[in-house]
Amino acid sequence: MRQAKGETMSVNHAQRVDLEVVADLIPAQSRVLDVGSGDGLLLELLQATKQVDGRGMELSQRGVNECVARGLSVIQGDADKDLEFYPDKGFDFVVLSQTLQATRNPKLVLDELLRIGKHAIVSFPNFGHWRVRLSLFLDGRMPVTKDLPYSWYDTPNIHFCTIRDFVNLCDELGATVEKATALDANGQKIGLSMPWWFWNFFGQQAVFLLKR
């Protein structure tokens, strides 16, 4: 944990259009755990608009200290290691926003989210997006985009997946997809009527509401 505690705060600060989508899924006064709470944007949004009982866990100590100084209830912790200490169904919602791809064991982390929360909300960048595919297909290089600004050698994002991959993992873990949303490059929701392959191609980010 100590060596991982570098200066990279949670993972993708470039564009956080997913936060509003996540917030919309959470009813007022819920008990919420935000795993990978970063600079506390989501917790602050939820406290201001939904009066939630919000807690955060963040890998970067700098991020944690800033959150606590702003009055948020946040602890330093590692999603890969520290979720086991939380009791079953201790929260109404457990949120993992733009962090899944940076965990060492995404399957285990997702399993823990479904255990701790009555619902889990997971948002992640879709590696099946056409820009990513194009970069690999035409340039033959790992994609570096506005959303995924890191080079392959310095990225904290070690476990990318596509929307289809994620749906498969949910099946494997016995999770029910209660709601799914894909956002295009402009942060606009992609129509519900569109088929999965369309989401997987044009969705730049995905937000899933799950339960088990």
Binding site: Q61, V64, V68, G71, S73, V74, I75, Y86
Partner: protein, 389 residues
């Protein structure tokens, strides 16, 4: 000179220069040792004003060699209060807004009943006739003080090191009386290494011939050498290797070359000797034995069948824990295990680890990140408690 000093400290033990609350035979203090302490007294200081709703009270718990003079000049040393950097008018813990209470712990030597106090049964100082005092005993006594003020629920309880142990004990024993809790640089138990250092200190005191089996006042003596050595050893544990090296390195003390003798050639030796010497002027040796023992005995999980989370079951208190990267007396892992237990209990907890090379003592120093964390935590707790700005 020795006798004079002995007399003065003894007086501060019985008739302190701060307010005292005395409990007679009708209100004994129940001790974990299985006996009752009666009569007994608590010496305390308060700062600020208790509001009408009695909802703005903050209890500060002091560390091993601290006292009730947290935010005003210490009558024994003439130095500023030990946490004046944090507490006072306009400070982070603003005494124009909060009512701050700090009491000398039971077993202490600045006015609360301790080994230097006069035993009413004999007319002589208790010495080792005082039963062993535990952290929980200290907290039980503090509760009686808080009841005396008619405070139903403390807005916050905070403290570092042994003070942090009291904070954890408060939140565990009386969760409904504590709205928020700030345990700093502490742990839910004393580690084997910490007990080891304390034992070295106690043996140093007891090896001093002036200790007289704890009855030194009756001989007009004080075990100053032993207590000074105890303090020197302990003081090293409050710092860090990096801080010692930064401050002293291998620098020589007022000399150009090594003297090939056992004088204090090095600055660090001179510094430690000074720390030891000034400590014996303000602290009672037997009290040091009792305080260190209280910390050694502290094990919150053991009181709950070995499961720390059970110490906080159903707890509604808001917690904020703070540790320091270079603290090897209470390393971050000690705080983290408390955090995990609080998580398991579903409690509300924040946890900040602060990067510093100043070791355990960092909690007493001007650490901007510590102050920012305390400030944020207190401000949000005050909003939740409905306290006005």
């Amino acid at each position: 000179m020795v006798a004079l000093r002995a007399k003065r400290t003894n007086n501060e033990a019985d008739e302190p220069s701060s307010p005292v609350l005395r409990f007679g035979a009708d209100k004994p203090l129940k001790l974990d040792a299985g006996t009752l302490l009666s009569p007994f007294q608590i010496a305390y200081k308060t700062y600020g004003t208790l509001n009408e709703a009695r909802s703005n009270a903050i209890l500060v718990c002091h560390a091993l060699t601290g006292d009730q003079h947290v935010a005003s000049t210490n009558p024994v040393t003439g130095k500023p209060g030990w946490w004046e950097v944090l507490i006072g008018p306009g400070r982070i813990i603003d005494t124009s807004r909060f009512f701050v209470i700090c009491s000398n712990v039971i077993g202490g030597c600045l006015g609360s009943t301790g080994p230097a106090s006069t035993n009413p049964a004999t007319g002589k100082p208790y010495g080792l006739d005082l039963p062993i005092i535990t952290i929980r005993d200290m907290v039980r006594a503090q509760l009686m003080l808080v009841d005396h003020f008619g405070i139903e629920k403390l807005f916050s309880v905070l403290g570092g090191s042994m003070g942090g142990m009291q904070v954890l004990q408060w939140a565990s024993s009386y969760p409904e009386r504590v709205f928020s809790a700030l345990p700093i640089a502490t742990g839910a138990r004393h580690s084997s290494q910490n007990i080891a250092f304390h034992e070295v200190g106690r043996q140093a005191v007891m090896a001093d011939p002036d200790w007289h089996g704890g009855k030194y006042f009756e001989h007009g003596k004080r075990p100053e050498k032993g207590l000074a050595v105890a303090r020197m050893a302990a003081h090293i544990t409050y710092l860090s290797e990096a801080a010692l090296h930064r401050k002293f390195g291998r620098n020589l003390q007022d000399r150009e070359a090594l003297t090939f003798g056992f004088d204090a050639d090095f600055q660090i030796e001179s510094y430690l000797r000074h720390q030891g010497m000034t400590f014996v002027d303000r602290f009672d040796a037997n009290s040091y034995l009792y305080m260190t023992r209280a910390m050694d005995y502290f094990d919150l999980a053991a009181d709950h069948g070995g499961r720390l989370a059970d110490a906080f079951a159903g707890n509604k208190t808001r917690f904020c824990l703070v540790s320091f990267t270079s603290d090897w007396l209470f390393p971050t892992e000690e705080s983290r295990s408390v955090v995990h237990a609080l998580n398991a209990a579903g409690a509300s907890v924040s946890f900040v680890e602060i990067e510093t090379d100043r070791g355990h003592d960092a909690f007493l120093l001007d650490e901007p990140e510590l102050f920012a964390a305390i400030n944020g935590f207190i401000a949000s707790a005050a909003r939740a408690r409905g306290l006005s700005e």
